[in-house]
């Protein structure tokens, strides 16, 4: 049995276990066991992958496997991973693991919550392992739909509005996506749905011109591409903690991953035509998100907008089409996933205690809940790109890589994008100064307690990952850039 298929199988087994579970402790047991298994699997996969590469495996994808599913449409259950998907799998496993602990005390309907949560993660894992357009799309939608119930039932604030908006906008994206996928399939001569094989075929240019924007926008909606990002603030603000973590941490990465693996890889000529348009859009979302975050008063809104900015940077880097920038994009996905998950976890924990996320009503938390506060500071520093934490590595790779682009327009965009790091500092320090420092004015808050053990597990795990990536980036960077190579060379032919 292919190891990759385990990534889908284990969550399904977890769902069965949850279905069978009767007591709360059983539910938790199933979740912890399952998510730890997934985490170990992911780590093992990474080690194994690096080992094979070091052993001289030169195929574009490893652990490949393909089973014919729907012969008439050449739909296979085809899996395979390269450096990019491996790190994404690792990221997802980490966040599912920590998310489990972050929603340890969630009430009510804990069992159902974890059922949908696991279904969501099934979709995520499935998406990252599959190389078949159809299965990719299928898992993509599997990952989307549970959001509705997760936000609608367990969310807070205007949850019903937010859930509906998020679901419909993302589904709108996937409508574009589906038409694009059909376009790719029939454009490539309707012989295969396998991405790697289609990449070797050639899609007629006029079709690429039509279907590239469809696919790019389709994934871009999930990647918070301006102006299709507005689901993100409301959605994240209303979602329960772990869901925000998983959604901002992993789901938004599906967008970038898909744009790279499907839109750009398969339709380079379309990219050549549309690249500049989307580059402008992404540049806008990088700066725009940062500026919008400055004036928000809800912690989650601030984070949502900063996610818009950072995920915008991912797409931005991809559109730069140099090997380094694309590597940077993947690193950025990884780092943003980790640190934004950390952020949302901490915000959720603070909210769970103070019952408010309004920065104007919080102050002096450093004295009251030092652990969470320090974690928040660390997350903030990572977010504003402090060396030694993940953000710096990713952003620098992106900027250096983007600046490698010979075209002056691209470099101008790069310089514009770099300004976002200053604005990031502004809003991060604003929040830190407002809510953590100073003296606490609200007598209610003085009674609050610091993190419990389950919360500590989640936070520490994430902090360690953020710092680990920030201190020892070279192995990730090497693995990724090796896998980015073939795609970028494919692009460079036409650009």
């Amino acid at each position: 049995m292919n190891i990759l298929s385990l990534f889908v199988l284990v969550p399904l087994l977890m769902m069965l276990g949850l279905w069978a579970a009767r007591t709360l402790s059983q539910v938790r047991g199933v979740m912890v066991a399952g998510s730890s298994v997934l985490l170990l699997l992911a780590i093992w996969l990474v080690v194994d992958y690096l080992g094979l590469r070091a052993g001289g495996a030169t195929e574009e994808m490893l652990f490949t496997d393909s089973v014919m599913w729907y012969a008439p449409l050449h739909i296979c259950y085809a899996v395979g991973v390269d450096g990019i998907s491996v790190v994404m799998l690792l990221l997802s496993a980490i966040i599912v693991f920590t998310g489990t602990f972050a929603s340890w005390k969630l009430k009510p309907l804990t069992k159902e919550y974890f059922l949908w949560f696991t279904l969501l993660s099934t979709g995520v894992f499935g998406f990252f392992i599959s190389v078949d357009l159809f299965t990719m799309f299928m898992f993509y939608e599997v990952a989307l739909i549970p959001m509705y119930l997760l936000i609608g039932v367990w969310g807070s604030g205007r949850k019903e509005y937010a859930a509906m908006k998020l679901t419909l906008m993302l589904m709108g994206g996937s409508a574009f996506l589906l038409i694009g996928i059909l376009g790719i399939y029939y454009g490539a001569g309707a012989q295969t749905m396998n991405v790697l094989e289609i990449a070797r075929l050639h899609i007629p240019e006029e079709m690429q011109r039509i279907f590239f924007p469809a696919v790019f926008v389709g994934f871009g909606v999930l990647g918070a591409l301006f102006p299709f990002h507005t689901w993100s603030p409301d959605g994240h603000a209303s979602a329960p903690t772990a869901v925000s973590m998983l959604h901002a941490g992993v789901l938004m990465k599906l967008g970038g991953y898909g744009c790279f693996r499907v839109a750009m890889y398969l339709m380079p000529e379309g990219l050549a035509m549309w690249g500049d348009v989307f580059l402008v859009l992404t540049t806008i979302s990088v700066v725009y998100g940062a500026f919008s975050a400055v004036v928000q008063t809800d912690l989650k809104y601030i984070n949502a907008y900063s996610s818009v900015s950072h995920c915008g940077l991912v797409l931005f880097a991809l559109l730069m089409m140099t090997r380094t920038s694309c590597t940077g994009a993947v690193l950025q996905m990884l780092s943003h996933g980790l640190m934004t998950a950390l952020f949302f976890a901490l915000i959720g924990m603070i909210y769970g205690r103070t019952h408010t996320r309004d920065v104007r009503q919080l102050s002096g938390l450093m004295k009251i809940m030092p652990f969470l506060a320090v974690g928040y500071v660390l997350a903030g520093l990572a977010n504003l790109g402090l060396p030694g934490l993940s953000g710096f590595v990713a952003e620098m790779t992106v900027f250096v890589g983007s600046f490698e682009h010979t075209d002056l327009f691209h470099r101008a965009c790069t310089i514009i994008a770099t300004t976002s790091i200053v604005i990031t500092a502004v809003y991060i320090l604003r929040v830190v100064g407002k809510i953590l420092y100073g003296t606490c004015h609200n007598p209610e808050h003085l009674k609050l307690t610091d993190a419990t053990w389950d919360e500590r597990v989640a936070v520490i795990c994430l902090v360690v990952c953020v710092a680990g990536l920030g201190l020892a980036p070279w192995w990730v960077s090497d693995a990724v850039s090796a896998s980015v190579e073939p795609i970028v060379s494919q692009l460079s032919v036409f650009n």
Binding site: M138, I145, Y148, M164, A175, L178, G183, Y186
Partner: protein, 480 residues
């Protein structure tokens, strides 16, 4: 003699159905006390047998080509009878009610006779058979719709149905007469050779499509649908929404594809237009509805629009995905109606959406089934609906209808919106004051079995590829 026997045996689908019909009729005649479970068990068992019986591996012609039975049509027939079986299973609650208990047998007999009509319509090789089948399918349907004698709405629905169906069939017949006038034959086999693309033929084509569009309730021939669905007994509505619609769709596909090849451009344009309009209008209207049955009526209208995409493709892939779509649509829709009728029977006849508020708190299983079915209708993976939608889109896309497919896709967002409204009501909304379910509903065995089967179908029909692949082969084998 042997040849004659085998020829007759190739009618086995219809024959077996007639046998079932007669047996049920007699059983109903001679049964001791009404309201027992025996009759339903009997009919369900017989239908089960019938479903398995009428699968036929090869193509047979009968009566000089007036009747043609192909593997494809026969599998479609099995799908239809399976659907009917599901309807029968879930109609138990309703037929047990004292005012309907005496008419239980009639319900089965009439339903089966409409089914028989559809069978003939499906394997017609001549417009006469086709027309007879059509009418056999629609006249008894009016009786079914008006079954609840005491309910005013039921009577009203019946009147609307019979009159508008007579109107449409009159026009259809007029179209056929024009066709006959221009070609001189009504054999499917002969028509393609003699049919030119003249004005009268076009008119005939439009009239024919309108007639079928009435059965499938395509916009603008759909207006009877909502009222009839709302008025009819819920079990009948389920039957109406899935079985007759599906049969009409397949029949339409067969006829336009094999009888009007000369007019392909014309009918494809017409159907493309109809499908887009139907999907959009159905969705828009569904957004406004509060009564669940009316809501499902409009949802089924938009579903009909998607089905037409399969006809539009005009290819084996199109036929296959069409049949596949119908099968999965049957399963999902019957499940939804089963839940609706259960809630109706136990909730004091309420069918508005508010009746479902907070259903999850008391009836998790029921709600889960409903959710899965709705997701399937909305085309959410990994449920079957996703696959059927994908295949039907692929087929239409392959035929080059890119824009149509795109518009249909955009419409899926709207449809998802109103399906989610129901989900929201069940999971998120708090139950209104005096809502009928403080306690879990105890639905009858039949309903539970039906729900179980439907859920199974919704979950596995998509994931198991063999079903679609066989359909594809059979669609490829179609004659003419």
């Amino acid at each position: 003699m042997n040849n004659y026997m085998s020829a007759v045996l190739s009618l086995h689908a219809e024959l077996s159905l007639i046998v079932v019909l007669v047996v049920v009729f007699l059983a109903d005649l001679f049964r001791s006390r009404p309201g027992g479970r025996g009759l339903r068990v009997l009919v369900c068992a017989l239908m089960l047998v019938q479903v398995l019986l009428n699968l036929s591996p090869d193509t047979r012609e009968l009566f000089g080509g007036m009747y043609v039975n192909t593997p494809f049509t026969s599998v479609v027939k099995s799908i239809l009878s399976a659907g009917t079986l599901l309807v029968f299973l879930q109609s138990g609650e309703w037929t047990r009610r004292p005012d309907t208990a005496i008419r239980e047998g009639e319900f089965y007999v009439i339903t089966l006779s409409t089914l028989l009509g559809m069978f003939f319509m499906l394997s017609a090789g001549h417009f006469l058979i086709f027309y007879v089948g059509l009418e056999m399918a629609s006249i008894p349907m009016a009786c079914l719709v008006a079954m609840d004698k005491k309910r005013r709405q039921s009577a009203e629905a019946g009147a609307k149905f019979i009159l508008s169906s007579m109107f449409s069939s009159a026009l259809l017949l007029y179209g056929l007469s024009l066709l006959y006038g221009t070609t001189g034959t009504l054999y499917f086999a002969d028509l393609p050779d003699v049919l030119q693309s003249g004005g009268l033929e076009r008119l005939a084509l439009v009239l024919f499509i309108a007639g079928m569009g009435f059965k499938m309730s395509l916009v603008p021939f759909h207006l009877w649908t909502a009222d009839v669905y709302q008025g009819a007994p819920t079990g009948v509505t389920a039957y109406l929404s899935v079985i007759s619609k599906g049969a009409a769709a397949v029949a339409l596909a067969v006829v336009v594809r094999f009888v009007f090849p000369a007019l392909t451009d014309d009918w494809s344009v017409v159907l493309a237009l109809l499908s887009v309009v139907t999907i959009t209008l159905g969705n828009l209207m569904a957004v406004l509805q509060h009564d669940m049955k009316r809501f499902m009526a409009f949802s089924s209208i938009s579903q009909a629009g998607y089905i037409v995409l399969g006809v539009l493709a005009g290819s084996p892939a199109g036929m296959a995905s069409l049949a596949f779509y119908v099968a999965i649509y049957v399963v999902a829709n019957v499940a939804v109606f089963a839940v609706i009728s259960t809630v109706e029977q136990h909730g004091g006849g309420r069918t508005d959406r508010e009746a479902f508020n907070g259903l999850y708190a008391t009836n998790p299983r029921l709600t889960l089934v409903m959710t899965l079915a709705l997701f399937s209708l909305g085309g959410i993976p990994p449920f079957a609906g996703f696959f059927s939608k994908f295949f039907i889109f692929a087929a239409a896309f392959e035929a080059g209808w890119h824009l149509v497919v795109f518009l249909a896709l955009l419409n899926t967002i709207i449809s998802l919106y109103y399906y989610l409204l129901v989900v929201k009501a069940m999971y998120i909304s708090t139950p209104a004051e005096g809502s009928a379910f403080g306690s879990p509903i105890h639905s009858s065995r039949g309903v539970r079995l039906c729900l179980a089967l439907c859920t199974l179908g919704v979950c596995v029909l998509g994931v198991l590829s063999c079903f679609y692949e066989n359909l594809f082969q059979w669609a490829d084998m179609l004659p003419w």
